[in-house]
């Protein structure tokens, strides 16, 4: 018992505060998004945040060794869940992504990202850098990445699949694999891309194409990007005020409580609001870097730290880039802010692991 209290005392409470603050921003925005409508979503979001927070603290109490030891087991469970969802998952918006678990909808692709990071970390920890010159050993980690990537892609969930791929590449990168490998895989992907493009659904192609010229088709795919930009731009410096966003509340903005919540934030809280959220995300990322870079000779811890934070950081920034028109709209929530249980719980678990890393680190 005292052990637990000591563990709790040693947690990085600044980090916890920042993470909680970001979820609080989410609560505020979800409240506004459902303002004047039924409060079911808001109440449900409160439960999820509370549950997520508790989950984060619980995970933070587990030592990192536990994850290292069971990494492949979790990976296996994750793959089974993904396979399950591929064949028996609930349909939503033309995609099989959900498992209905006693009335709770659960999206295994989210938690799979954590399992993947841990597995890759374990692999690169065990296979030391000496072998990194030999490319043959890379077949296994590439397989580890490719299986969940393809399973998620065929759901289809382009956003999550791309994120899985991207985070994996970053992990390959920070685990010190030779440059030549990246050059080679770059070449391979250039060859493979046209084939993959052919495999994309029409609406996904359309989304990517409209990015380059949203005004071209203002009532089709470009409509969302234009309306989102109008929402953010019209917010100006200080915003239109909480619950006062006209773009959001008059339904010009699509999916305002999920993918486009950042646009709503931009509209209601202006440049100051968007800047604060970016600041918060950067701060969380920076602290994680600080923790992670303190591990010397511990590849597992390093890769887990970089992997988790990269997942969080890029998910956030890609979501923002989507809604401001830098990247195509592929359907990614804003971590901790958007409504959506599986994604939020995954990030809380991730932060729990970072807290646990922090407990075991010896930086000052």
């Amino acid at each position: 018992m005292t052990e637990i209290i000591i563990k709790l005392k040693n947690l990085n409470w600044l980090f916890i505060f920042l993470v909680s603050f970001l979820s609080f921003v989410g609560l505020v925005m979800i409240y506004s998004a459902t303002f004047g409508e039924e409060s079911k979503i808001f109440i449900s979001h409160i439960y999820k945040v509370t549950f997520g927070f508790i989950l984060m603290i619980l995970v933070s109490l587990i030592d990192v060794e536990f994850w290292k030891k069971n990494a492949y087991l979790f990976y296996f469970i994750g793959i089974v869940l993904l396979l399950w969802v591929t064949f028996y998952g609930d349909l939503g918006k033309g995609a099989r992504r959900w498992i209905n678990f006693y009335g709770l909808n659960f999206q295994p692709s989210e938690i799979m990202k954590i399992f993947l990071i841990i597995s890759l970390a374990k692999f690169f920890d065990e296979k030391k850098f000496q072998e990194s010159r030999d490319y043959f050993f890379l077949i296994l980690p590439i397989l580890i990445v490719t299986i969940p990537f393809l399973l998620v892609l065929i759901q289809p969930d382009l956003g999550t699949a791309m994120l899985i791929l991207f985070v994996s590449i970053v992990i390959f990168f920070v685990s010190g694999i030779n440059w030549k490998f990246f050059a080679l895989s770059g070449l391979v992907s250039i060859v493979v891309t046209p084939y993959l493009w052919g495999e994309l659904k029409d609406y996904q192609k359309q989304r990517i194409l409209t990015l380059f010229n949203p005004e071209n088709d203002p009532l089709g795919s470009g409509y969302h990007i234009i309306q989102s930009q109008i929402a953010i731009g019209s917010g100006g410096t200080f915003g239109k005020g909480w619950t006062k966003g006209t773009q959001s509340h008059l339904d010009f903005l699509p999916e305002k409580h999920t993918d486009f919540i950042f646009s709503m934030l931009g509209e209601e809280f202006g440049f100051l609001g968007t800047l604060s959220v970016i600041g918060l995300i950067c701060l969380i990322t920076y602290i994680t870097y600080h923790i992670t870079s303190s591990f010397v000779h511990n590849n597992f811890n390093r890769i887990v730290g970089y992997g988790i934070i990269t997942n969080f950081f890029f998910a956030s920034l890609i979501n923002m880039s989507m809604v401001i028109g830098i990247l195509p709209i592929v359907g990614l929530p804003l971590p901790l802010v958007s409504y959506g249980g599986s994604s939020m719980l995954t990030y809380f678990i991730g932060f729990g692991i970072i807290l646990s890393l922090d407990r075991g680190s010896n930086y000052l």
């Binding site: 006209t246 008059l250 950081f313």
Partner: protein, 600 residues
């Protein structure tokens, strides 16, 4: 051992290098994240700071919709403050301009429940091309209660349609005032695009006083959501209704005129002799001006244009008739006033007068015997006037006739009045390229030949004779003072007393239309010839009017004033192709005059 040491050293140095490599790569990762952050930051700065006003406007355009509110037209009242043109609420179906491409789909779906006529479809087409400032386009006017009810029930299926109401022109009695009030409609060439759906006066009083009746437009700004549902009214500028107008028309008289003229083509004009106010201006057949104001289809319009009875013609001011014997009053007055003609002089009427190598016939084949001027008017003897005409110079008569508005516009305050023809030598040369023949004077003095006049001119002549003043007819305003005609009173009195005999003497042509009761009426009958009677026909016996083809029958004319001693109303009735004035026009005039005198 040494080997091992070297090995471990190598390993150590490799370890260090690896750590350095990892640190470097973490740094690269961190830098790329920073770069990404600045990219997002930059775009946000661009959107929210630099382009704030552009996006602010776009967001307003998204949510704020403007609806032009057309003003309510002023109400037109009759002399006794009875509204004769007011407004009704018109329920209309409008679509958001942004969603106009949906309209035909909607029309397809709504058909069967809401009646879209060809006219409506035309309206939709026209409204689409117009760059009205409004964000709504009207696609259907005049929704019925059933249609409204249906739409209320179904409106969730048509998110971009809204029901709006507008006050539109409504004529209390659509057939009775149509010619005098005119109607409203869309302007043909709109300069102010903003108000392309504004209805303006097209004819009659509506046109003449359009600027006063029009009012000023307003607008409403709505906040709408993306589905087009109106959330709330943001602000509005009220439309200013047009000014009301009081006219000199008397509804009941106008009504009576329309009743009397049922089945008869022609005109009834009544003028107040004291102030020139036009109390009645009825042209038959009439058209439905409500139908016109709601928008009449091209088909219907063409049908009306092709109608042989020309219901669109306002006969009161633009129907041209020979004044016939009613004009004898002016001829007689001219003779005694300007030619020192002895009114007691008698001429023999044997049924015809020979002039040159032509015979001029009296309407009474067997003749009137010896008659003086008074009797000649009373009995409407043509021969007397033929004889009188021998001394008349046509130019003098024409000039004198101008005093009674013949050949001139009366100046009535509605548009499209015709001036008719008062022939003289100059006119003949100009229009027929021939010299004036003396024989033509003989025709002119009895109001036949080239001469053409409007019913309003005939009524005005009577009013001017009755008062000796240059009365000017007005529908909206009225004057108290008029110029004197400068005609000797005794001469006027003589003509008036002759007119008195026409109605009140047993030998007068309109004795059967004598007023019962205390009021005395004075008048003059007239028969406006539509055809020329040929010599052979004279010899064979003139064909009776009733036996003639309808279109060749004479017009029946009667003009009168009353009360005799203090003239108040001057009235003329023209009944086309109804034969002599005494038979049809005079009895109608009598009944209308009776009503006017007894009630007003």
């Amino acid at each position: 051992m040494i080997d091992l040491a070297i090995d471990s050293e190598v390993i150590m140095s490799r370890e260090v290098n690896f750590e350095k490599k990892i640190k470097r790569r973490a740094l690269i990762l961190g830098l790329s994240k920073t770069f990404f952050t600045f990219l997002v930051f930059g775009k946000l700065f661009y959107l929210q700071i630099l382009q704030k006003s552009k996006y602010g406007k776009l967001s307003d355009t998204n949510r704020i919709k403007l609806k032009i509110v057309y003003p309510e037209r002023g109400i037109i009242f009759d002399l006794y403050d009875k509204p004769i043109a007011s407004n009704r609420i018109d329920y209309q179906l409008s679509i958001f301009k942004d969603k106009k491409n949906l309209v035909y789909d909607y029309v397809k779906k709504l058909r069967g429940h809401i009646n879209f006529s060809e006219m409506d479809l035309e309206l939709i087409k026209n409204n689409f091309n117009e760059q009205d400032l409004s964000d709504f386009i009207t696609i259907k006017r005049n929704l019925s209660w059933n249609e409204l009810e249906f739409f209320e029930f179904m409106k969730n299926k048509f998110p971009f349609l809204i029901i709006t109401k507008e006050k539109v022109r409504n004529y209390e009695n659509d057939l009775i005032f149509s010619h005098v009030l005119g109607y409203v409609g869309f302007k043909k060439n709109v300069t102010k695009k903003k108000l392309s759906n504004l209805k303006v006066g097209i004819a009659g009083v509506e046109k003449k006083l359009d600027s006063k009746l029009l009012g000023k437009d307003g607008w409403i700004k709505f906040e709408t959501d993306s589905k087009g549902a109106v959330k709330k009214e943001l602000n509005k500028k009220y439309a200013v209704p047009g000014g009301n107008i009081k006219t000199n028309l008397i509804s009941e008289i106008q009504n009576k005129a329309s009743e009397e003229m049922r089945g008869i083509r022609g005109a009834v004009v009544m003028i107040n002799c004291q102030n020139g106010g036009v109390n009645c201006l009825y042209s038959s057949p009439a058209f439905n001006n409500n139908e016109f104001s709601d928008g009449v289809s091209l088909k219907k319009w063409n049908k009306l244009l092709a109608d042989e009875f020309n219901p669109l013609l306002n006969r009161c001011i633009a129907g041209l008739y020979s004044p016939g014997s009613t004009y004898k009053l002016v001829t007689a007055l001219h003779a005694i006033e300007n030619q020192k003609f002895n009114k007691n002089k008698k001429f023999l009427c044997s049924g015809h007068v020979s002039f040159g190598n032509r015979k001029f016939h009296c309407w009474k084949k067997e003749g009137h015997g010896y008659v003086n001027l008074h009797e000649a008017i009373e009995k409407s003897c043509d021969c007397y006037f033929y004889n009188l005409a021998k001394t008349v110079k046509i130019d003098d008569l024409a000039k004198f006739s101008n005093l009674f508005s013949y050949g001139q516009r009366t100046g009535i305050d509605i548009p499209n009045e015709l001036k008719g023809i008062m022939p003289d030598r100059k006119w003949k040369i100009k229009n027929r390229n021939e010299k004036w023949q003396k024989g033509e004077t003989l025709n002119t003095v009895i109001g036949q030949g080239f001469m053409l006049s409007t019913p309003l001119q005939i009524t005005l002549m009577t009013a001017r004779i009755a008062t000796g003043k240059k009365i000017i007819p007005t529908i909206i305003t009225n004057k108290k003072e008029f110029e004197n005609l400068n005609i000797r009173n005794e001469n006027l009195e003589f003509i008036k007393s002759s007119m008195f005999s026409v109605v009140n003497s047993s030998t007068g042509t309109a004795f059967n239309s004598k007023l019962p009761g205390n009021y005395k009426m004075a008048g003059k009958t007239g028969t406006s010839q539509v055809r020329r009677i040929s010599l052979e026909e004279r010899e064979d016996g003139v064909i009776k009017n009733e036996e003639l083809n309808y279109k060749l029958r004479d017009h029946s004319i009667f003009t009168c004033f009353a009360p005799f001693d203090k003239p108040k109303y001057s009235l003329s009735v023209i009944a086309e192709h109804m034969g002599s004035g005494s038979k049809v026009a005079a009895p109608i005039a009598k009944r209308i005059m009776e009503l006017a005198l007894n009630k007003y």
